[in-house]
């Protein structure tokens, strides 16, 4: 044993209580984050719980080929992308705009109240949000339709309309999370150099120009980082939200990768096939994060890592 490694062992031994402290956490990550990664191998097998991981037959990329040649694949891909693109276009900028508005307010009761109110929905579960949505939008009992009918118009089907389902999801996400999303941007805006504002004001810039030329460039790196992370999630759609809002009338536009994995994997027990779908999704997400991070760095921005 060399001197250096003996030294290392002494150091490890000296810190044994420190390792003991981290042990439950490390065990957790090994069992619940890394053991499942090992479980990915079943996507290349015909896994059955009875034969187990070790004895199941290897089938190579069969499940992947089967999935890509399945007409469902196109539907899932289209739905997932459509929902995420809508989110990227409308839900992603919403907290930035909202933060710009809030940033114009001086600290006081009004600002605090607005913040307290718009942060609140973040803490409500999707079950509650779904329940409230039904109560508001149902065709027979919903308060919005009651209002529409009392004004003399025919009632509108918000919840069972294939054409507007994606919009409904986007609006729900905005109601729930846009306010909460402002916090990170407000924090970033607070660190923009006040001298920049003073200088621009002397040059005669109005509030819009200040926002466009000073505030937004000042928080550019935060926006970039969140955008990169968002791109990594582009194959994910908030599972609980879609699962709860889905109904027979909209299933052709509502089924996304995650709900499909749940239905095929858990309900029908096709473990290998559904793991393959999940793996495809995770790999695409990882590639997107890496690509987005690279291009951000090439453009001279700070990346995520």
């Amino acid at each position: 044993m060399t001197k250096v490694s003996r030294n290392t062992w002494t150091r490890i031994l000296q810190d044994r209580y420190l390792y003991l402290l981290g042990l439950p956490g490390m065990l957790y990550f090994v069992v619940f984050k890394y053991a499942p990664m090992w479980g990915i191998v079943i996507s290349f097998q015909d896994y059955s719980p009875y034969t187990g991981l070790w004895k199941s037959e290897w089938v190579g990329f069969e499940h992947f080929v089967r999935f890509f040649s399945n007409p469902d694949f196109f539907m899932l891909f289209r739905n997932t992308m459509a929902i995420n693109l809508l989110n990227l276009l409308f839900f992603f900028p919403a907290p930035i705009l909202l933060a710009l508005l809030l940033n114009e307010l001086r600290t006081g009761l009004f600002k605090k109240s607005v913040q307290s109110i718009i942060y609140l929905p973040h803490f409500l579960s999707w079950v509650i949000i779904a329940g409230i949505s039904f109560q508001m939008l149902s065709q027979t009992e919903g308060v919005v339709n009651k209002l529409i009918v009392s004004l003399g118009y025919p009632s509108v089907e918000f919840l069972t309309n294939e054409n507007t389902f994606w919009v409904l999801l986007t609006l729900q996400s905005m109601w729930k999370e846009a306010g909460w999303g402002t916090i990170i941007f407000l924090a970033a805006m607070a660190s923009v150099d006040p001298q920049l504002y003073e200088a621009s004001k002397i040059d005669g810039a109005g509030p819009f120009r200040l926002a466009w030329h000073v505030t937004l460039p000042g928080i550019r790196n935060v926006i970039t980082i969140l955008l990169i992370l968002r791109l990594g999630d582009i194959m994910d759609v908030g599972f609980e939200q879609v699962y709860l809002m889905m109904n027979g009338a909209v299933s052709s536009v509502a089924e996304v990768f995650d709900t499909y994995v749940f239905r095929v994997g858990i309900s029908q027990g096709q473990f290998s096939y559904s793991t393959a779908i999940g793996l495809f999704k995770s790999v695409v997400g990882l590639i997107l994060v890496i690509l987005a991070n690279k291009s951000a760095k090439r453009l001279g921005e700070e990346g995520v890592y």
């Binding site: 956490g25 307010l105 929905p121 409500l124 709860l244 027979g248 995770s282």
Partner: protein
């Protein structure tokens, strides 16, 4: 500073817009609250009710008299207390370990934890691990697999990073080992931060829904959110999941008030901790806005 007229209009418009947004956020919640207290006959008559003529607590009385509702409140309460404590211990222990710069293997372990944020093996492998461990249909299936997350560990590590190592040295001389230092010096020092993380964990456990769909089939072990789903969502779903519906038909109560009362009761604990949460939003926002 003197303001131009155009700027005054701008600020007035800004205030109006923000008031409108607040109103849009608040109205559904207010409506839920009102309907939950509305006399059933008044609701049946229809129309938009903004303020009921007669207030009644009949929906609440009925809900609190059903055993299913009470049982699921207890289940979720168990999750929120035992789960939160366990999460805090496990996460802070690991985060503290990783924050000590002298530790051998610190960088590798941190990197491995970062990796779990960037890549997830997916729903099915996670499910199979939980099943192999024999946790299906046990309330622990809602706690143990959710004990920690890469984000929480890294955030907490960031917090512990700011505690100087010189603080430990004094304690080491006094003959304390690292566990003792953690218990007697580090944790008491970081109580406010632990409270913040704890509140976020607690809200997470209280809102546990999907893992219960995955792991719990036994109605006696359902958390509140599953019961809410049966009550609120399933009636709208063609062929939703079967389950013990909190029967209201036999009582001739319109389910609307009952549903809204259930929402209010589920939200009350969150509203109670909300003022305490608010102080720590900046910390939690990193978790919340990044990982959603």
């Amino acid at each position: 500073m003197k303001r131009r007229a155009s700027e005054k209009i701008y600020y007035a418009a800004n205030t109006c817009l923000l008031s409108l947004i607040s109103l849009i956020t608040l109205f559904p919640l207010y409506y839920v609250f009102v309907v939950s207290f509305t006399e059933p006959s008044e609701f049946i008559r229809g129309g938009v009710i903004l303020f009921p003529r007669t207030w009644t607590t009949i929906s609440y009385e009925y809900l609190l008299s059903t055993r299913t509702f009470i049982r699921s409140i207890l289940n979720s309460g168990f999750l929120a207390t035992v789960g939160t404590l366990s999460s805090l211990i496990v996460t802070s222990g690991l985060a503290y370990m990783l924050s000590r710069k002298r530790l051998v293997g610190r960088r590798v372990i941190t990197l491995l934890i970062l990796l779990t944020i960037l890549f997830s093996p997916g729903m099915i492998p996670n499910y199979l691990v939980v099943r192999e461990l024999g946790l299906i249909n046990q309330i622990w299936a809602l706690i143990i697999p959710a004990l920690s997350s890469g984000w929480y560990v890294l955030l907490m590590k960031g917090f512990f990073d700011s505690i100087p190592e010189s603080l430990e040295e004094a304690a080491t001389i006094d003959g304390c080992n690292d566990v003792g230092i953690w218990l007697r010096i580090i944790l008491p020092l970081s109580l406010p931060a632990m409270a913040a993380f704890g509140l976020f964990f607690a809200v997470g456990y209280w809102n546990t829904y999907f893992s219960a769909v995955l792991y719990i089939n036994n109605p006696a072990k359902w958390p509140l959110q599953i019961l809410l789903q049966n009550l609120l969502v399933d009636p709208y779903m063609a062929g939703g999941s079967e389950g013990a519906y909190v029967g209201s038909e036999q009582l001739n109560l319109p389910p609307e008030g009952l549903k809204m009362a259930a929402i209010v009761m589920t939200t009350i604990p969150i509203l109670l901790v909300y003022p305490f949460l608010q102080k720590h939003f900046a910390k939690g926002a990193m978790v919340g806005s990044v990982k959603e």
